[in-house]
Each structure stands twice: as structure tokens, then as C-alpha cells.
């Protein structure tokens, strides 16, 4: 083999360097934000913060336990409603929507994705709050579910389209009906991709504040009923951050840190669970 010219070797190194640099640039903001959150928030995180409800202004201590639980409840409701709907829509788009109806759904879904989140909040206000006559975790969950659907639908569609037609044909060839093939073969084959889409949508809405302002509304006390105003971390952070009190500012930082850790934890837990169920060589 002839020796590789100096110019080629230099170009190779430069391009590799550029690639590494871009990765660093992408990761930098993420780590910077996380590091800053830890720096500002870790000092206020203690047992009281994780187990107590907020104290009145001026009284030291207190925590965001009710908001942590409230966020979990709202997200659970949102996922319960949004995930099946989103995956269902994705199945329609990929398996039955290669036509004009599918195009309409795709277009509407993309538009819905671009609707400002506060407008989604107004929709949930009209759909749930006006009827119930009061704010509730359910209303907040509905607002977030509406935001999850387009993301999940489009990623599910893309992931199902990646499943080779040959896999579907294999199932048809065994006398398996179309709907069974879709659920047990196509969807199953695309599971890891579909879950990525679900986690993307989940992480995106987990930190949303605007759609919760007049749906979940927030609450300074414990609430275990899904039809009552409910605290959420993002709302609590918002309220505390715009307040004039230093103690509340510190708690807002701590709340933001807890929120990020919860989201990362949830995503990681699902990833590990999925990997655990995957076979060698699959």
C-alpha cells in the first residue's frame, strides 16, 4: 500500500476534531444547566423539602412534597390518556393512513405540535375546568395529554414504517390477521423506537408550566383528589421564582433540580426496563 499523504492525514485529524467539538458544543448547555441547578439548588434540598408542604411567607423551612406528588399525578393522568391515543394515531398513520385521510391527520398533528402550550391550556380549561366548575389535576393531565399526542403519533408512525414489509408478510403468511400482526408483530418490533417517542413527549410536557396555570392551578396544601386544584413542580417554581423572597428563590432552584432529576430518572427507568426485556442479538 502506498503511504497516505500528509494532506489526507491532516484533513482526517481536523475533521475528527471538528466532529468531537460539535458533540461538546451540543452537550455543553445541558451540563452547564445541570451543574448550575445543582450549584444553586442542592443547598435547599433536605428531608423537609421532600416531605413537607410550603410554609407561609416569612416562616423558614417547608418544602414541595405536595408539588412533587402533584406533578407525578398530573403526568400519570397525561400519560394514561396521551400515550394510547398517540400510539393509536401513529398506528393509523403508518398502517392504514397511506392516503388522503392520513395526510389530513399528519397535517393536523403537525399543526397541533406547533400550537403554543398556553393555548392548549385554554382548550383544557374549556373542556374540563368549565364543566367541573373548578381547577383539577384531571384538567392539567388533559392539557398535557393533548400536547403529548402529536409527538407520540408522528414518532410511532416513523418507527412503524421502519419495520420491513417482509416482517409483516411473514405474519400474514402464517395466517395471522392484519390487526394481530400490527399489534403483536409490527408494534412489538418497533417497541424501542416507539418508547423513545413516548419518553420524548413525556420529558417535553413534564416541565410545562403554561398549560397548567389555569387547569391544575396549583395548591399550597396536600391534595389526593384528581378533581381538585393540584400543585405541580413547574407551577411552584414559577410562583416562587417571581416572588420577592430569597428563601423562595432558593426553593425554586431546588424545585427545578428535583424536576430534572425526576424526568431523567423516569426516562432512565423506562430505558432499563425495556433493555431488560430485550433478547440477546435482537
Amino acid at each position: 500500500m502506498p503511504p497516505i499523504s500528509l494532506r489526507r492525514r491532516v484533513t482526517d485529524h481536523v475533521m475528527t476534531g471538528v466532529a468531537v467539538l460539535t458533540v461538546a458544543l451540543v452537550l455543553l448547555p445541558l451540563f452547564a444547566i445541570f451543574a448550575y441547578l445543582v450549584y444553586k439548588g442542592i443547598g435547599s434540598i433536605n428531608l423537609a423539602f421532600l416531605t413537607q408542604t410550603p410554609k407561609p411567607v416569612g416562616e423558614p423551612g417547608g418544602g414541595m412534597a405536595n408539588a412533587i406528588v402533584g406533578s407525578m399525578v398530573i403526568l400519570a393522568i397525561a400519560s394514561f390518556l396521551g400515550v394510547p391515543l398517540g400510539i393509536g394515531a401513529g398506528i393509523f398513520l403508518s398502517e392504514y393512513g397511506r392516503n388522503r385521510y392520513g395526510d389530513i391527520v399528519r397535517f393536523v398533528s403537525d399543526v397541533l405540535n406547533g400550537v403554543p402550550s398556553i393555548v392548549i391550556g385554554i382548550v383544557a380549561y374549556g373542556l374540563v375546568v368549565m364543566r367541573q366548575k373548578h381547577f383539577s389535576a384531571l384538567a392539567g393531565g388533559v392539557a398535557l395529554a393533548i400536547m403529548m399526542v402529536p409527538t407520540i403519533a408522528r414518532t410511532t408512525e416513523q418507527m412503524l414504517l421502519l419495520v420491513p414489509q417482509a416482517i409483516r408478510e411473514a405474519a400474514y403468511g402464517l395466517g395471522v390477521s392484519r390487526w394481530r400482526t400490527t399489534l403483536s408483530i409490527t408494534l412489538r418490533t418497533a417497541t424501542s423506537g416507539v418508547i423513545t417517542g413516548v419518553m420524548l413527549a413525556f420529558a417535553r410536557v413534564a416541565g410545562e408550566t403554561a398549560p397548567l396555570l389555569f387547569t391544575a392551578f396549583g395548591n399550597q396544601f396536600w391534595n389526593w383528589k384528581s378533581d381538585q386544584p393540584t400543585a405541580a413542580l413547574s407551577l411552584q417554581i414559577f410562583t416562587y421564582a417571581i416572588s420577592p423572597f430569597d428563601e423562595w428563590h432558593r426553593q425554586a432552584w431546588a424545585g427545578a433540580l428535583v424536576l430534572i432529576v425526576l424526568i431523567v430518572g423516569a426516562v432512565a427507568a423506562v430505558r432499563i426496563a425495556v433493555r431488560h426485556g430485550t433478547l440477546a442479538g435482537a
Binding site: A171, Y172, G173, L174, R180, R188
Partner: protein
């Protein structure tokens, strides 16, 4: 036991393009029948008409009658019912990638609601045995994915999967085209044994393969069945000039 196949006046279309023109054929039960011909001549389309896979393609349609045993394929039989009696092996091995070896073989039964664990175990072992794969995979039936096997093993896994549903006819669409000579040899050997229990229709590009495994051979050209006869006759003394040109390598 295998059953015979009768095809009369079969025409097949992709949207407005006609792919098969008036095909007539009688396939003998418990024999292997090979279909040969140049690429794009309609062989694959033809066998996909036998288990109604053709119609899964948008805008594709079929005219004519096909009878498999006592079953009228295009008249009063549901496609899913039919496909349980007419198994298919595809050109490229297509095991279900997220399923274990065991689940791949059991898939046809499980997905159709069959749950008896003991019976499933039996069927899986029997099918893998028939496909000459049991000894190679018996130690990691549940641990390994079907996609982790080698290409030749994957194709035999697909054969086992098709056999597990206990069909009467086995359609093979160029089952060896992606395999090396050793794996090909194993599958040809398999076809020999399977003939005792199943009727086999095999599409192949390899004329030696047709000569080796099949008692009957059909020659397709441009969507028409040019000649159908005993394999020996097709390869040594064909009646049609075009068949002779093809088998002697003058074109195609």
C-alpha cells in the same frame, strides 16, 4: 398430508399492469414443483396468488380460479384461514427480530390463540426437527433472538415457523437465493424430506436446483406459463423452443 393445487385461467394485476396472463397448472400432491424463468416473468407473483399474498399489495388484484385440495381460494375462503393451510417461505429470511427462537416457531399458533404450553413445546420441537435446526438451537431456544442466527439458520427457522402451523402446502419463493452452497444443500435435502408430508411449490433462479429437487417444472416468460411438464422433460427435451433456449442458457 399434502393436497393438490388446480389453477385455471389465472390473471394477476398490479394496478393497471398485468403481470400474469391466463395461467393454468395442476400441481400434484406430495411432490415438489419448481417454477423457473427470468427475473420479472411472474413466478413470484404466481405463488403469491396461491396463498393470497398478492392482494396485500395496494391496488393488486387477481382473476381466475385456484383450488387447493377441496378449498376454493378466491371463493368463500378467508385469506387468514387459507394461509394457515398454505405455508410460505420467503426469498429473504424474515424471522421476527424481537422474538426468541422458540417464539418465532410458535408465533403462528400463539398469535392465532393457541395457548396449550405442553402442546406448543411439542410442536416447536417437531418443527425445528423437521427443519433440521433442532440440534443447533435447542440449548438457547428462549435466550436468543431469531435474528441472532446465521443466514442459513434463519431460513431454516422460517421453514420451521411455517411448518408449525401444520400446513398442507408449502410455497417457497427463492428460499436459497441469499444462502451459500452448504446452507443451500441443507435446504434442498430438507425439501426432499418434506415432500413426504407436504405439497411443495418452489420458485428458483437456479436451474440445477429445480432439476435436483422437483419432479415437475414450469417455465414462465413475460407473465405466461410457457411449458409445464416433468422436470426431466423440461431440461432434456422441452416441447417449446423458448424453454429450450432458456434452459440451455441462450438467454435469461
Amino acid at each position: 398430508m399434502g393436497v393438490g393445487i388446480t389453477v385455471e385461467h389465472l390473471n394477476a394485476f398490479y394496478a393497471k399492469t398485468q403481470a400474469l396472463f391466463d395461467v393454468n397448472i395442476i400441481v400434484q400432491a406430495n411432490h415438489a414443483t419448481a417454477l423457473i424463468g427470468p427475473s420479472g416473468c411472474g413466478k413470484s407473483t404466481f405463488i403469491r396468488c396461491l396463498n393470497r399474498m398478492h392482494e396485500t399489495i395496494p391496488e393488486a388484484r387477481v382473476e381466475g380460479t385456484v383450488r387447493i385440495g377441496d378449498l376454493s381460494v378466491y371463493n368463500g375462503t378467508s385469506a387468514t384461514q387459507l394461509r394457515r393451510r398454505v405455508g410460505m417461505v420467503f426469498q429473504k429470511a424474515n424471522p421476527f427480530p424481537t422474538m426468541s427462537i422458540y417464539d418465532n416457531v410458535a408465533a403462528g399458533l400463539k398469535l392465532n390463540g393457541f395457548r396449550n404450553r405442553k402442546k406448543l413445546d411439542e410442536v416447536v420441537q417437531k418443527s425445528l426437527n423437521s427443519a433440521a435446526l433442532w440440534d443447533e438451537v435447542k440449548d438457547h431456544l428462549h435466550k436468543k433472538s431469531g435474528a441472532s442466527l446465521s443466514g442459513g439458520q434463519q431460513q431454516r427457522l422460517c421453514i420451521a415457523r411455517a411448518l408449525a402451523v401444520q400446513p398442507e402446502v408449502l410455497l417457497m419463493d427463492e428460499p436459497c437465493s441469499a444462502l451459500d452452497p452448504i446452507s443451500t444443500g441443507k435446504i434442498e435435502e430438507l425439501i426432499f424430506q418434506l415432500k413426504e408430508q407436504y405439497t411443495i411449490v418452489i420458485v428458483t433462479h437456479n436451474m440445477q436446483q429445480a432439476a435436483r429437487v422437483a419432479e415437475f417444472t414450469g417455465f414462465f416468460l413475460l407473465g405466461k406459463m410457457i411449458e409445464f411438464d416433468k422436470t426431466e422433460k423440461i431440461f432434456t427435451n422441452p416441447s417449446d423452443k423458448r424453454t429450450e433456449d432458456y434452459v440451455t442458457g441462450r438467454f435469461g
